[in-house]
Symmetry: C2
Subunit: 111 residues, 2 copies
């Protein structure tokens, strides 16, 4: 089977609140950082991120990212593909993906 694309919001319908809520979680942010760092935007297996959480929780996180419009999920039945919606994100929120690369400069916030 060709694998059908699980639906997310249209590019123009991306909600900033949903995006920020999605990126508020550390695990989801690490996934997005990896995706943003790969400029080829190739499809990745969803267990290629080495997340230290159970697979049910991973399913949940990918679902949140998809519903926020940040990734596409391609369902193959017994496996799943993940692809960054770079063009849509850049169109709607230019600079957001670049921001993800500005993670921790080394300083841990006191207090």
């Amino acid at each position: 089977m060709a694998g059908r694309n699980l639906v997310g919001p249209a590019a123009d319908a991306l909600d900033l609140g949903a995006v920020f809520r999605a990126l508020a979680d550390e695990h989801r942010r690490s996934v997005m950082m990896e995706l943003a760092a790969d400029r080829s935007d190739s499809e990745r297996g969803c267990n290629s991120f080495d997340l230290p959480i159970s697979k049910q929780t991973q399913t949940h996180h990918f679902r949140v990212l998809r519903e926020a419009g940040l990734i596409d999920e391609i369902d193959y039945g017994n496996r799943k593909g993940i692809r960054l919606r770079r063009a849509d994100i850049e169109k709607r929120f230019p600079g957001l993906l670049t921001l993800l690369g500005a993670e921790s400069p080394g300083g841990t916030a006191p207090r």
Copy 2:
């Protein structure tokens, strides 16, 4: 009295996770949008935002914004001033404030 500045994290210590968590809330995001839209960055009274929530909850939200490093709070005792940390934010997360203006779909985005 001069009013002392309540402390937040240093510019280099701004944490992207804390920032996204802060901006995930609709009320805090509306405050930040108003602040970002005013290019003069003048100090504002913290009840000038017309938030539909109690003052205790407002105190909570401004505290979250301050601890995320997004605003300064100036304590005058029986009133409080709010000021956007625009320079620090732009230095650490360039483009973030511009993103807040992209809220409405349909092209508020400059370019």
